[in-house]
């Protein structure tokens, strides 16, 4: 490998509205090295991946290949330069065969027009053999019939077949079993030996310590650490990721909870199994788990969005009718979903319209919308949460993520709910707005509202929750109470099976 094969980032900055997603970040990706990229959600990892892929360009700084700056107009350009990002959700075409998916864009032809199946199969066999995947899939198998791990392998084979020299893995193990993960690691090690630059993004710190040569930590868009993996421990990495000051963001005035509010027993839907939980007035119940553990699905089951197959839900001892979000709202349950843009907001309507959506009774006269009444309800809430906008008629699509989230919260506060379910309420929000939302959670709990807080950010759960339920595979695997809530215990119960012990997957 020569010097010119280095990819590097040089002083990259990227801003989205008020959020500084990346701030003057410089990294060199060395050939034959596994570089682990860690950071909390919103730290800037995915923004960096998108810039590498050419989805968008940086505001400042350059991506270099050797000494030459490269400008990407579109993802094809980055592919041509040899950069590949393997996403969590593999981009494969289910109705095409394994062979076609691997060789898409470079299918061998007969007479210029026909697909040369013989040659394609031959090449695919060769690629499969290199990866030891002959047992797992056949060239002519349809990709729709493959499992998640095999789909991911297809992406990897495609990337390498196309001459990927920098391959980034974005949370590759989140949908894999231990055994599949082990095989992925051995593939990654092989790639490293062959001189490929690897970027490995994961929340599983034990994997990172085991696999990586170098660890780069991002926090709030800044590079806070870039050092060899040797000697790093989970504790030191976690500390760097979170930063010291984050604990100060959390205030809980009282840890006093009142009488029983929500009682869920044996709740089962297509995606959650036999979940029982209770929430008291004034209590913050945290829900922890990895991506795909069924946390959002649990929320959707409680609010009647997903079809309830079995189980009961009661508010204040009164059963809540199944499969009716309306019944849940009437029972006093509010829900701020994780995906604000697609599940919570009417992007092309105003703040006022969005915030008054769930209180038609309080904002109308004789079935007609009454603007004065709506303003009377929404204005104080907007002021209380300091929503930053020229006026309440502003389209919510023009607001920052934090302000959009506040509009969603205003919608539910207008209803004065007894129970509020918040699914990743601070995702994609700048640190200032985060602090305001934490303060609001504390205030609401102190006023006697029960809160279910679903979060992937450990400090949030540890700092705010009275109790934490850990979920994996659609079930509750543990219940932790203050003060026994800590990251290691949560992670231990969040893993689908027991975590692979360091070292035992070297084959």
């Amino acid at each position: 490998m020569t010097q010119s094969d280095f990819f590097s980032l040089d002083g990259i900055s990227k801003r989205f509205g008020v959020v500084q997603a990346l701030d003057n970040v410089s990294i060199a990706f060395r050939p034959g090295e596994v570089l682990a990229l860690v950071g909390e959600n919103g730290a800037g990892k995915s923004t960096m991946m998108r810039i590498l892929e050419g989805v968008f360009g940086p505001d400042n700084g350059t991506v270099r290949h050797g000494a030459t700056p490269i400008v990407f107009g579109e993802p094809r350009d980055s592919h041509r330069a040899g950069i590949r990002v393997i996403h969590q959700e593999p981009e494969i075409v289910p109705n095409l065969t394994v062979a076609e998916n691997i060789f898409v864009g470079e299918l061998p032809r007969l007479a210029g027009v026909l697909l040369d199946w013989r040659k394609l199969e031959e090449r695919t066999d060769r690629v499969l053999a290199t990866f030891g995947m002959q047992q797992d899939m056949r060239p002519r198998q349809l990709c729709g019939t493959l499992g998640p791990a095999q789909r991911q392998m297809i992406e990897i084979m495609r990337a390498i077949r196309a001459g990927g020299r920098l391959i980034a893995f974005d949370e590759p193990t989140s949908s894999l079993t231990d055994d599949e993960a082990r095989r992925l690691f051995s593939v990654i090690r092989r790639l490293r030996e062959e001189g490929t630059s690897i970027i490995y993004i994961s929340h599983r710190l034990n994997e990172i310590i085991d696999l990586a040569d170098r660890i780069v930590v991002l926090r709030d868009g800044r590079l806070v650490d870039d050092s060899p993996a040797a000697g790093a421990s989970e504790q030191t990495i976690a500390k760097l990721m979170v930063g010291r000051n984050i604990a100060d963001l959390f205030t809980r005035e009282t840890w006093r909870s009142g009488e029983q509010l929500l009682d869920v027993a044996g709740l089962t839907t297509d995606r959650v199994s036999d979940v029982s939980l209770r929430v008291r007035r004034g209590e913050v119940l945290g829900i922890a788990g990895l991506m795909g553990a069924g946390r959002s699905e649990l929320a959707k089951a409680i609010v009647g969005y997903d079809q309830r197959i079995a189980g009961t839900i009661a508010m204040n001892g009164v059963p809540v009718l199944p499969n009716s979000p309306h019944a849940a709202i009437v029972a006093g349950i509010g829900f701020a979903p994780e995906d604000r843009k697609h599940e919570a907001l009417l992007l092309f309507r105003s703040i006022l319209d969005n915030a008054s959506l769930c209180v038609p009774d309080k904002t109308s006269s004789f079935g007609f919308f009454n603007r004065r009444k709506a303003l009377e309800i929404v204005s104080p809430l907007a002021a209380k949460m300091s929503i930053k906008a020229p006026n309440l008629d502003e389209q919510v699509s023009k607001l920052s993520g934090g302000n959009q989230q506040k509009v969603v919260l205003a919608r539910w506060l207008a209803r004065q709910p007894m129970l509020l379910i918040l699914d990743e309420p601070t995702r994609g929000i700048d640190i200032g707005a985060k602090a305001e939302i934490y303060r609001l959670i504390d205030e609401l709990a102190a006023s006697g509202i029960g809160i279910i807080l679903i979060s992937s950010e450990m400090p949030e759960l540890i700092g705010l929750a009275d109790r934490v339920l850990v979920m994996a595979g659609g079930r509750i695997t543990a219940e932790l109470s203050r003060p026994d809530i800590d990251e290691a215990t949560i992670l231990k119960h969040a893993m689908p099976q027991s975590a692979p012990a360091p070292g035992d997957h070297i084959q």
Binding site: A328, R349, P360, F368, A383, S386, A389
Partner: protein, 333 residues
Amino acid sequence: MNSLELRASKAQTDARGASARLVERLGVHNISLLVALAILVVIFGSLRGDVFFSSRNLLNIGLGITILGVLAMSQTVVIVGGGLDIAVGATVGLTTVSTAMAIQATGSPAAGIVAGLMLGGLAGLVNGIIITYGRVNAVIATLGTMAIFRGIAFIMSDGQSIAIFSDTFRFIGIGRILGLPLLVWILVLTAIAFHLFLARSIVGRNIYALGGNAVVARFSGININRYRVGIYIMSGVAAGLAGILLAARTGSGQPVSGSQGLELEAITAAVLGGCALQGGKGTIVGALLGVAIIGVLNNGMILTSVPTFYQLLAKGSLLILAVVIAEYHLNRT
């Protein structure tokens, strides 16, 4: 920014000039429609000013757009709710036939009106159920029922025109009140009702929510299935009303003549008026301006002797142009 500032910025808006406030109230889109309308008027006025500006011709335009106006407004509600109803033209044909047959059988105009509205509502219910519970794409579902409703109209009428001999009923189509045709009054009243319903009522606002994002609407406790079926019933009843007006004007019930192509014009008017085909966007005022543009264009093309076949070219192009403009705006915001 706190609530004081929110209020302050509102005061600022009030302090600006009356013209600026007018622009804000009407919206940029509606103003551009008015400009387009003015351009058409200037073109046809300069070509055939003698006839075009005569009060008789202006009334003709008004009469011509009544039926289309009702359909464009109901189509706007359907599109805002995230749907599309291309069976409206066929429903109009079906209801003219049923209205004429009911009057022929009973001699009572009231029976004809009830028959038209009921059958229209029933046709809408069928559409709504197929789309909502059969989970069929709205375009395909109403494309199918369009053929079915036409077929039923042919079967009922045996392909014949059915004459209506009730003067009371004919009065709806040709009578005047305070110097203006009754049809124009009906358009004005339905327009006010539609505008209040869509822009101001809670149900109307929930229709915007449904079309803007059905997931959000459902999370907000809106019974989206009931709303969807209700919207198509409304569209059917509106088509029934249009059918009654058409029958009263022509004095007959006919399966095809007079109602063919109305769906194209209604959708064109709605989209011209600012409806986004993805749903969640559109206004009654815009739809009416779209209707006026189509009305003037139709009238002007007849006055300037554009052959019928070429008129079809113009109408089709107008729809596509309207959608292209709407998409362009959507992608810019």
